[in-house]
Each structure stands twice: as C-alpha cells, then as structure tokens.
C-alpha cells in the first residue's frame, strides 16, 4: 500500500513552528549557566517572529493538519493578542523575584509553552486539539503561579489553581466525550452536521432535545466558563490573581481570556450552532450573574490585584454577551472589547508591578496614595487604565462597551445591554476609588507585607538568588514603564480613533461568515 506523506502547509503552521522552536531553544539555554541571562531576549525574539508570521498569514483561511486546526481571522486576531500579552508578561518579569528563584529561562520556557497552547487553542477545530491545547495552556500556568517559592501565597495559589483547574478540565473532558458520542464526529463542522441528523426537523429536535447532548453541552460550558472565570465558577480567580506573581497574573488575566473566548466562539458558533436557542439563554444567565457578582464583589476589595480579579469576572461577563448574540457583529464587538481589555489591563498591571517592586509587595489600594503627586509617569497610565475599565468616553473601553451594547440591541438582547450599563454603573465606584486614591488623597507610607521567614530554609532551588525584593528605582525601569505608557497610549488612541481596531475586530467577525449571519 502506498504511503504518501501528508501535505503540510508550512506557511499557515509557521506561528506554531516558530513558537515551538523558541520553546526548545529556551529550554536548552536554561541548561548553560553562562547564557542564562539571554532568556528574555530570546523569548521576546520568538514572540516577535510569531507575531510576524501571524501578520504574514493575515487573511489565510484554511484547514490545517487534516482538519484538526482551522486558521482564519479569529485565529490571527486573538493569537496576536495572546502574543502581545505574553511579550508584556516577559518584559514585566525581568527582575521579578519569582523569575530569579526558578532561574530565568525555565520560567520563560513555561510561559512560551502556555502561549503555544493558546495559539493552538485559537486554531483548534476538533475535540482532541481543543482538549490538548487547553491543557497545554493551563498546566504551565499552574506551575508558573507557584514559581515565587519565597511567598506562601504563590504556592497556595498554584495548588488551588491546579486542583480547581483539573476539576474543570475533567468536567470539560466528560462533556466532550458526550458530545462526541451523540454527534458521532470529532471535527466541529462534522459535529454540527451530525446534530442536523438527516435534515428533517423532527430528527433535529430529537437530537437537540436528547438529554445526553444537553448534559454534554452543559459540562463543556462549565469547563470553559471556569477557564474564563464566569460567575458560579469564578471563585478561584481572586485568590489566584492575588497569590500569583504579578506578571503571571497580568498574562493570565488577559491572554487566557483571549484564547478561551476564541474556542468559545468556534465551539459554540460552529459546532453547536444548530441548538443556539438551547444554550444562549443559559449563557446569558451566566453572563448576567457574573456581571453582578464581579462588580459587586470588587466593591468590597482593598487589594488592587483582587479588585482587578473581580473586575476580570465582570468584564468576562460583558464579553460573553458577544458570543450569546451569535452574529458577526457580536464576534467583532467581542474581539474589539478583548483588544481594549488587553491594552487597559496591561497598563494597569505594569504600573502595579512597578509600584510593588518599589514599595515591597504591598498591593493595597491605600498604598497607592499620593502617586499622582510623586510619580506622575506611573499615575497617568493607571488613571487612564481605570477610566477605560470604567468605560469613560475618551478611552477604548467606552467604544468597546458601545460596540457590545449596539450588537446586543441589534439582536434583540436589549435587557443584557441594560445589564451591562448597570454593571458599569456599579463598577464606577471601585475604579474611581483607585483614581481618587492616586490623585486626591495625601501621601501614605507603604505598609510592609507579610514575608515567610526564609532564615531556616535552604537556599532557593536551582540557583535562584535570594537577594532582597525591593528595587528602589523600579519606577524608572524602562521595561516596566514602557508597557504601561504604551498600554495607556493605545487605550486613548483607540478611544479617539477606533476605526483601525474596528477593522481588526471585523477581520475576526466575518471569519465565520459561512456559519452565522
């Protein structure tokens, strides 16, 4: 029997190839002490190359690897977002205590692994790649969360994230199994075809109504909802965000949402499009619930990272509306909002990292007092980020909310639009409380944080130096201030001239023109 090698479309696979290459090089570099210092530049280089490949493949729309990956507009846009947030995470973690303890390149290798998982997830087109990519994305993050061995919180957050994450993945797996069983196929388009049955309306109802399918969809929703921290499954988010080292929190908050929403779109709007009125009300309920829980929860927070965690839950609720609407406008609104969300959050986290380094790990809002007067270069990006998150006009946040509400109202989901408005109203209080702390209150002395007494412990594992953690000049470090300023500038720029970002988002929107109107 003749054995013909499969035709591999290297061009479309180039982003994944570049990332894998980078990952391998990083792992090798980690071995030799002398060149360990070059970890970050290599990581940045790989990310740059990947971004280049993605942009090179801007408008390809093909199936890859025998249908298991599908490279199209959604992939390009959302992968770019993941790559950008990864780059910023790398920049932020230069000189981060966690990175020092685990040795620079290993830390970055794990990060690269996670990014690879994300890029694959945005392309996943069948159940197997879906599950593998999701796990490839999560497992390095579990590890990364626990890297700051010095701090007890970091270990605790890592373990919590792992256990709850695995429960979510297990549920997801079981759901996928059920869907595979009832639809009879692995690739999403075939699943959709499978659910259509022989096209006769009653067969559709039978299949759609069949309990196993619905249970399957339910469990898959739980798995994905957990990953993107939608309401009832959000409990891990605040703890992990607070515990994990801040660059990782930044990366996790932004990149995971982008990747998981990619698979949300592909899975729900390609595979399960047949039973849209089955799951859209359920998702709407989840979205509304998470908006309320996220916004209300954030009110009572004093730690900035926990507050950003809760705000992440609320923003995830807003973004989910893009999927519920099941229209191209909905997807482009979602992608636009994600892009704005990336810019806002990275600016906020960059400032937070710089502030933490300078004041020794106190992420309490009251420690931000008087920042406006003493460090305007840090204060302005944080203020712009907060105003953008609150959805005030000159920023991309406002245009994002506007685009989302317009998509909702267009598809007769007006009550969700009002829910977004109400959620934003509540969110004003805690976002502006940060702005008030930065600008309007007098200078505050930084409160020292709890630190494990590392006296009795052996030196850090794998050669991590046990130097002290505060870096007085943190606020002037280029790699900390640059992402903050760029993030804030991007927020304002896309707030005033949103058209390029709208086109970027529409690229993703009309990628699914074949499946939805």
């Amino acid at each position: 029997m003749t054995f013909d090698s499969p035709s591999i479309d290297y061009a479309a696979l180039s982003p994944i190839i570049a990332l894998t290459a980078g990952l391998v090089v990083l792992v090798l570099v980690a071995v030799f002490d002398s060149i360990k210092r070059f970890g970050s530049p290599i990581a940045l280089l790989t990310l740059a190359v990947t971004a280049g490949c993605l942009i090179w493949q801007w408008d390809t729309n093909t199936d890859l690897v025998a249908g298991s990956l599908h490279f199209d507009g959604i992939t390009v846009t959302l992968s770019l977002l993941c790559v950008v947030s990864a780059a910023v995470a790398v920049l932020l973690s230069i000189g981060d205590p966690a990175e020092k303890q685990t040795g620079r390149s290993d830390y970055l290798a794990l990060l690269m692994g996670s990014v690879l998982g994300m890029v694959m997830l945005t392309q996943a087109n069948n159940i197997i790649t879906f599950f593998v990519a999701l796990e490839l994305l999560s497992i390095p993050l579990y590890a990364l969360c626990a890297t700051n061995l010095r701090k007890r919180d970091s270990l605790e957050s890592g373990l919590k994230y792992l256990i709850i994450g695995s429960v979510g993945s297990a549920t997801l797996l079981y759901g996928l199994a059920l869907i595979y069983g009832t639809s009879g196929a692995m690739e999403f388009p075939q699943i959709a075809a499978g659910y259509l049955g022989d096209g006769t309306p009653d067969s559709i109802n039978k299949l759609v109504g069949d309990p196993l399918t619905l249970v399957g969809i339910g469990m898959v929703t739980v798995g994905l909802a957990f990953k993107v921290s939608i309401a009832p499954f959000h409990q891990w988010t605040p703890d992990v965000y607070q515990g994990a080292p801040t660059p990782i929190t930044a990366f996790m908050a932004v990149a995971t949402k982008a990747a998981v929403f990619a698979i949300f779109i592909r899975f729900f709007l390609v595979a399960l499009i047949g039973m849209v009125d089955g799951w859209d009300v359920m998702l709407a309920a989840l979205a509304a619930f998470s908006m309320v829980v996220g916004n209300v929860g954030a009110l009572a927070q004093t730690s900035l990272k926990r507050m950003l965690g809760y705000s992440g839950i609320a923003q995830a609720g807003y973004m989910l509306c893009g999927v519920i609407v099941a229209t191209q406008d909905g997807i482009s609104a979602l992608v636009f909002y994600l892009a704005a969300y990336v810019a806002m959050n990275l600016a906020a986290f960059a400032v937070l990292v710089a502030h933490e380094r300078r004041t020794g790990f106190s992420d309490d809002i009251s420690s931000l007092r008087g920042l406006g007067r003493s460090k305007p270069l840090l204060a302005w990006p944080l203020t712009i980020a907060m105003l953008a998150l609150a959805g005030l006009p000159p920023t991309a946040g406002f245009i994002g909310k506007l685009y989302l509400i317009e998509a909702l109202v267009d598809a007769d989901w007006t009550w969700l639009g009002v829910m977004i408005a109400i959620g934003t109203m509540i969110s004003l209080v805690y976002y502006l409380r940060v702005v008030a702390a930065v600008w309007m209150s007098p200078e505050a002395e930084a409160s020292p944080t709890d630190e494990i007494d590392t006296s009795g412990l052996p030196p850090a594992v794998a050669g991590g130096s046990a130097g002290d953690f505060t870096d007085g000049q943190a606020h002037r470090r280029w790699y900390l201030v640059l992402p903050a300023v760029i993030g804030a500038a991007a927020t304002i720029f896309f707030g005033v001239v949103p058209q390029p970002l709208v086109e970027f988002a529409q690229q993703a929107g009309n990628a699914l023109s074949a499946y939805i109107s």
């Binding site: 599950f131 593998v132 605790e156 256990i163 695995s166 996928l176 595979y180």
Partner: protein
C-alpha cells in the same frame, strides 16, 4: 453489553472522583481523585468510540492519559515545594488568600 452500562460506570467513576475531591483534605489524595475523574471521561470516550466504530475516541484516550500524567507531575511538584517550605499539607489550612 450495550453502551448504557459503560456510560453508567463512567458517570459513577466521575461522581466518586468529584466527591473524593470534596471530602479529602490531603492534596495528594485530591490529585488521585482528579486522575479518577479524568479516567471517567476517557472511559466514556472509549465507549462511544466502540459504539461509533471509529478510532478517534481511542486516539483521544491516549492523549488524555498523557495530559493526566502532566497534571499529576505539576501537582506533586507543587506539593513537594510546599512540603519543603514546611507549610501544612492540608487543604483547609491553605486559607491565606481569601475575601
């Protein structure tokens, strides 16, 4: 044996795993229970693959085993790190992050 029995078994496995995670306090045992839940999913996948007659399900099961292994590795890694830090290996004592 038609497929219902396999599904019932996998559902049973899943619930046992889930309750194990809820009840036990030692992280290592929790990791074990997670393995159980993953294997329940794998079993269901196998059953359906057998019913549908194609090998996709079995390929998936192999991959699931690999992934489960990775998780356990990372999980145990963290548990060891915590043990070295002389932190109490009890899930209920991990209450630092709350509120």
């Amino acid at each position: 044996m038609d497929i219902e029995w396999y599904l019932v078994l996998s559902a049973l496995l899943f619930t046992i795993g889930f309750t194990g995670v809820l009840i036990r306090r030692n992280p290592v045992v929790i990791l074990l229970c997670l393995e159980l839940m993953l294997s329940a999913g794998a079993l269901a996948m196998l059953a359906f693959s057998r019913m549908l007659g194609d090998q996709d399900g079995q390929v998936m099961v192999l991959i699931v085993l690999v992934v489960a292994a990775c998780e356990v590795v990372v999980g145990l890694g963290i548990v060891v790190a915590m043990f070295r830090r002389r932190l109490p290996l009890d899930v209920d004592d991990m209450k630092e992050l709350k509120g």
